[in-house]
Amino acid sequence: MAVISYREALRAAMREELKRDDKVVIMGEEVAQFNGAYKVTEGLLKEFGPKRIVDTPISEAGFIGLGIGASMLGIRPVMELMFWSFSYVAFDQIVNNAGNIRYMSGGLINCPIVIRGPANGGTNVGATHSHTPEAILASHPGIKVVCPATPYDAKGLMKAAIRDNDPVYVMENTILYNDKGEVPDEDYIVPLGVADVKRVGTDLTIVAHGRAVITSLKAAEILEKEHGVSVEVVDLRSIRPLDEETILASVRKTHRALLVEENKPFCGVDAQVAYLIQSKAFDELDAPIHRVSSIDAPQIYCKRMEDLQMPNVERVVAEALKVLA
C-alpha cells in the first residue's frame, strides 16, 4: 500500500490503462508538452509519446466531439477538460452526441469515452470557472457521472471509467489534488454505482460526494467530540449510477439524514437523494431531511465570502444539530 496524492492516483490510473489497452488515448489542452494545467498528466508524454498523449487547441466543442466520434469506431479517448466549467461550450457534443448516440441508434453505436477534469468551487476564480455540473449532466439518461473524494476512489473510479463502454464523466477537484491517501499497489477498480461508508455512526447519516465528503468527515469528528453524536458519512462516489441501497440502509439505521453537496440547491444531486429517502424510507425518519449546499448565487470571487458560500465544517455542524434537535 503506497501513500500517494489524489493527483498521482489519477495519473497512475491513466498510466496503467494506457499500458493495458493501446486504444486508450489521452487528449486535451496542455496535457502533453505542458504536462497538464494541474499536472495530472505529468510525464505521460515522455512515457507514451505524442500518438497516445495529444495536445489540443483551445477548442472544446471540436476536440470533445472528435473524441466522441473516435470512440464510436473503438478508440477509448480520455479527454481532459481544464475545468468542467469549459464543458459548457461543448455541451451539444457532451449531451446530445455522447449521451444520445446509443439510444438514437437503437443500440447500434457505443460511445466509450471518458471526459475528466476538475469541477469545483472554492478556488477564488469567480463564477465562470467554478461550476459543478454533476447534477446537470447526471440528469441525462445515457451519461454516467462519478465524483471521487479520495486518492483510492480517484484511481479506482478512473480505471473503471476507462474500461466502461458508456460515456463516463469524471469530476475531480483541484483542492483535493494534493490530498494523500493509501492506494493499493495491485490492479483494482472501484465499480461505478457503489457508495462507500467513509465513517460508521448510529445517530445521523450524512450523505455527500466530492469534497463535501471531506468537509462532512471533519464535521462528524466535531459532532462526536463536542456534542457526543455518532455520525455516519456515506460517500456517494458515483452520482449516476446511484447506490440507493447504501443510502437507505444507513438511514434505516440512524433515522436521520443530512445531505451535503457543493452544488447550488436547486435541482442539486441531493434533491434526488432527498426524494429517494422520503419515497423509500419515509417511516424510518425521525426528523425532516436537511440539506447543506452552496448559497444560491453565482460563485462569488471574494475568497472570504466564497468560503462561507460553500458548505464548510461550521455550517455542516450547525445543520446537523438542527436535524438532531
Binding site: 473516435a70 438514437m104 443500440g107 473503471a160 477498480i189 457503489v194
Partner: protein
Amino acid sequence: MAKPAVLTHPESLKRPAGPSEYAKDPANASMSKADKIALYTKMARIRHFEQRCIRIYQQGKIGGFLHLYVGQEAVAAGTISLLGKHDHIITGYRDHGHGLMVGMGMNECMAELTGRVTGCSQGKGGSMHYFAPDKNYWGGHGIVGGQAPLGTGLAYAVKYMGLKGSCLVYMGDGAVNQGAVHEAYNLASLWDLPVIFVVENNGYSMGTSQERSTAHPGCLAKRAEGYNMAWDVINGHDVYEVRAKTAIALKRAHEESKPTVLEIFTYRYFGHSMADPDKTYRDKEEIKEYREKKDPVFAFEQELLGEKVLTPELSLKINEAAMAEADKAAIFADESPDPTVADITKHIYWEEDNRGPKTTSRGTIIFE
C-alpha cells in the same frame, strides 16, 4: 420576394444540364455499364422513396420533422458510390439519401419514419437519426453542424488505426456558420486528418437565403483557405462531376491524409422540412427552373440514354421497380409493431443491456 437564384448559385447556373464534360473523367470512365445502371437505380430509389414519404407524412403517419432530399440525389449518389471499406460517412438531418446509398433497406428506413420497432433505430431516432454503422454510416444528426467534430473523430480513428480510409462529413450551407464546424476544420487541417467536408449548398439555411446568412456568400468552400485546406466547387446536378471531383479529394485523403472542403451546388424542391409551407422566401419559378433544367436524376438518365447504357424501357422498369419498392416499404412501415413501453428504457447504456460477467457497475441507473 427572394432574390433570383443566380446570386445563390453562381457556379451552378454557369452550365446547364446536358452531356457531362466529366463523362470521360477516369472516375467515370472506369465504371462498367452495370455500375452506371446501378448508380442510376440508386438515385431513382432515393427519389421515389422520398416522394412516397410525402404521401405518408400527409396521411399523418410520420411525426415530427421530415427533411426531404429530392433534388439533391446526385450529391449522396456521386460521393458515396466512390467509397471503399475504410471510408466512413456522417451527415446532418437530411439523411435519407445517404442511408439508401450506403445500402440501407427501404423497409427499415420507412419503418423508422413511422416510429416502428422494425425501423433502423427501432423507432428511437426518427427521420433525422438514421444509423448503419455496419455500412460505415454514422448518422443522421439533428443539430446543425454538430456532426462535423464527430466525423473528424471518425477520420482520426481511421488514421490512428493505420488504415487507408477517410470520413465524408456532409452538412448544409447553413452549417458553415456554426462554431463546431470551424473547430472541426481547424482540427482536421492541424492534424492532417483524412476528412472530406461536403457542403451540400441548396441555397437556403431553412428559410434564410445564403446571402442573408453568410458573409462572403460567393463561395463557402473558400473558407477552407483560412484553415490551410484544399477546396473545390462542384455542380451538384451532374453526378459525373460530383464523382470526378470527389475522387480527387478522396485520393488526397487516402494518399496524403489531408482534408478537403467540397462545396456542391444543389437544390431542394420541397420546403426545409414538411413543416415549411415554402411560401415566403423563394419564388416558385426558381424551383421550376431548376427542376426543368437541372434535375439530377433526369440529367443522369439523359446522359445514360445518350451513352446507350440505358434504354427508355429499362429506365421505366427501374423507376417502376423503385416505386413498387417504396410502396411495399410503406405497407411494411404501416403494418410493423410499435416499440413497447419496456423498450423505452433499452439502449440507453451498454452496461444495462449487457448485464453479465463483463459488466462491473451496480446501483440504480434508470430512475423511477
